[in-house]
């Protein structure tokens, strides 16, 4: 019908399946993301480190390139080892960039919907609070996946392709560690970003708080450690908690490292693994509680 007719008519066409509706949110968010030059540049710049890693893997397996660098024989292997530290550091660097991205993108997720009560319009449709949170989380999860585990697994696949099937089989734990370790970080960041976005309406403040939780938390933990002569202050250090879990995911019980760059547990000060899992679970539950308090169709004044 032509718009100039200016009349109301009911809709009798087909409807999209209910399960797919939360995907509407990331689609609109990416259109908005695409229009922001700084974020787009930052996002593309975040692939530099994985590209360097891929280049290193390639050069390690290319005799002519090594000859050009003047490295031959066993020296080539010693140039940079493609091992658990290599992949953990790749994940560590990319995860810090993901933290920056979450700080830039996260605060703009929920607060604009709360600022002028648009949330009521979302939830007045056949669209639940869970779907809303899922939709908003998927915006961050997709972007951060592209920055973390996807390039990580591509590097792993390249190394496996060049090194051989046996290497892949022997080091399958690196791939699973990369995948699950990245997802742990992505979920933590996404939940924290949404929770802060729901409670702090001023975007720069919400972005700043993201860093605050990580850096002030670790400083606070260090102070507790120093004053109380304990290691339990590390429970406030998210980098420490994630580092301990990553070591377990990447290496199991045969530990050779104490974490990745930015996510390292100081040797001898590691908290028990179960404590780290519990602390991360507690932080997630707090974020979910904060979201549940704010993501409502109507405010209840008791």
């Amino acid at each position: 019908m032509a718009v100039y007719k200016k009349t109301y008519r009911p809709y009798e066409g087909k409807l999209t399946p209910g399960w797919s509706r939360f995907l509407v949110i990331p689609r609109y968010a990416f259109t908005e993301f695409h229009g922001k030059r700084f974020l787009s540049l930052f996002f593309f710049a975040s692939f530099i480190y994985p590209l360097i890693c891929a280049l290193i893997i390639y050069v390690q397996h290319n005799a002519s390139a090594l000859n050009l660098l003047g490295v031959q024989g066993q020296g080539a292997r010693g140039l940079i080892s493609i091992n658990v530290t290599f992949f953990m550091n790749l994940l560590g660097w990319q995860s810090v960039l993901a933290l920056f991205l979450a700080s830039f993108v996260g605060p703009g997720q929920v607060s604009p919907d709360l600022a002028n009560n648009a949330l009521t319009l979302y939830l007045a449709r056949p669209f639940s609070r869970v779907e809303y949170v899922l939709g908003k989380m998927s915006v961050l999860a997709i972007l951060m996946s592209l920055m973390t585990w996807i390039p990580g697994l591509l590097c792993f696949a390249l190394q496996g392709y060049l090194e051989g099937w046996q290497w892949m089989k022997d080091n399958a734990r690196l791939a699973s560690g990369m995948f699950f370790g990245a997802w742990l970080w992505i979920l933590m960041l996404a939940l924290l970003a949404l929770a802060l976005s729901a409670w702090v309406k001023w975007k720069p403040a919400a972005g700043g708080l993201m860093f605050g939780v990580f850096f002030v938390g670790s400083a606070f933990g260090a102070v507790i450690n120093a004053v109380q002569r304990t290691t339990w202050g590390n429970i406030f250090n998210i980098g420490h908690l994630v580092g301990v879990v990553w070591v377990q995911l990447f290496e199991g019980s045969n530990r050779t490292t104490n974490g990745a760059v930015f996510f390292r547990a100081t040797a001898g000060e590691e908290l028990p693994l179960w404590t780290c899992w519990m602390a991360l679970a507690a932080l997630s539950l707090i974020c979910l509680y904060m979201l549940a308090r704010k993501i409502r169709g109507a405010e209840v004044v008791r």
């Binding site: 019908m1 718009v3 100039y4 200016k6 009349t7 109301y8 008519r9 009911p10 809709y11 009798e12 066409g13 087909k14 409807l15 999209t16 209910g18 509706r21 509407v24 609109y28 604009p112 919907d113 600022a115 002028n116 009560n117 648009a118 009521t120 319009l121 979302y122 939830l123 007045a124 449709r125 056949p126 669209f127 639940s128 409502r296 169709g297 109507a298 209840v300 004044v301 008791r302």
Partner: protein, 310 residues
């Protein structure tokens, strides 16, 4: 006729406070007005029907679907225009309405088409590519109506749709609501403080007071019944004879001072007959009013009852 909204002992509590007290009503009208003073529970009722609040007892059914067990299906039938501002300020009007239509289940291309149509329909066609944050209050109200109708709901909840509008914008909003009502494709539930708005747009009224149903009436029937009530003012020597002749017609009469007379006309008797009798008795009818219980009268009567219960 199957009720559009059926309240079946609906009770809502916030903590220890009972906001809606076991409401019972079957709303069958094409357009139903929801009236009540501040704090009567109008918005709570709408929010409960939308599934935002969980009933503590009883339930409600919308077009036959139980709000407790079919909340999602119920919301797919509803278009909601909230009372307060509700928009994403950085989005253009058409972009936001399209988003909302897609969330209601329309495929992207249909959602876009209907978002454009809805904007033209509410008179915002020329500003549909402007960020909603830059709209005037009247434009924001119209944009809220556009998002409420874009997905083609079966039932439209309008919560104070004329809030803050200047007289021309208010008239335009009322006209739009009447047009939507008269097309007959959907039902309306209009919550308002303004009795005049409800009177112009609705054929049934549910009046709430302190969480109870204080009155529930069919305005159309009231209007029809009231047509038989007349108030006369007469002048002449033979007022007594005129009264007797009118009673002979079958009218119930209640004479007042200074030639004033209230009467109820029986069915089948036209007002013309009164003039004929008056002329025959040499009595002048100086004033003749159809006595009509306005919505205001109904509302005030409903408010007289201290606990608001019928």
């Amino acid at each position: 006729m199957d009720p559009v909204i059926e309240l079946d002992g609906l009770e809502v509590r916030f903590g220890k406070r009972v906001i809606l007290k076991k409401l019972k009503a079957a709303l069958t009208g094409r357009s139903v007005g929801l009236l009540g003073p501040n704090g009567a529970g109008k918005s709570t009722l709408i929010n409960t029907l939308l599934g935002f609040h969980k009933p503590s007892a009883g339930t409600a059914r919308i077009l036959g679907r139980d709000i407790r067990t079919h909340a999602r299906e119920v919301r797919s039938l509803i278009g909601y225009m909230p009372e307060n501002d509700a928009y994403i300020s950085s989005m253009t009007g058409v972009h936001m309405v399209r988003l909302m239509a897609e969330l209601a289940g329309l495929p992207p291309e249909h959602a876009l088409e209907r978002a454009h149509e809805a904007f033209f329909y509410v008179g915002l066609g020329e500003v549909r590519y402007r960020a909603i944050g830059t709209y005037s209050l009247g434009m924001k109200q119209a944009a809220k109506l556009a998002q409420a109708i874009a997905h083609g709901p079966k039932l439209l909840f309008l919560d104070e749709p004329t809030n803050g509008l200047d007289p021309p914008a208010r008239a335009r909003m009322i006209q739009l609501i009447q047009e939507i009502r008269d097309r007959g494709d959907l039902h309306l539930l209009l919550s308002s403080h303004l009795l005049h708005d409800v009177e112009e747009c609705c054929d049934q009224v549910l009046i709430l007071k302190d969480g109870n149903v204080a009155a529930f009436c069919n305005l159309e029937e009231e209007r029809r019944a009231n047509r038989r009530f007349l108030e006369l003012e007469t002048r002449g020597e033979n007022n007594g004879d005129f009264l007797a002749a009118v009673e002979k017609l079958g009218c119930e009469t209640a004479p007042g001072a200074q030639g004033r007379l209230k009467l109820i006309m029986p069915d089948g008797v036209e007002v013309r007959r009164l003039y004929e009798i008056a002329a025959g008795q040499n009595v002048q009818i100086r004033r003749l009013n159809h006595k009509r219980d306005s919505l205001e009268d109904i509302f005030l009567k409903a408010m007289e009852n201290p606990d608001g219960r019928l």
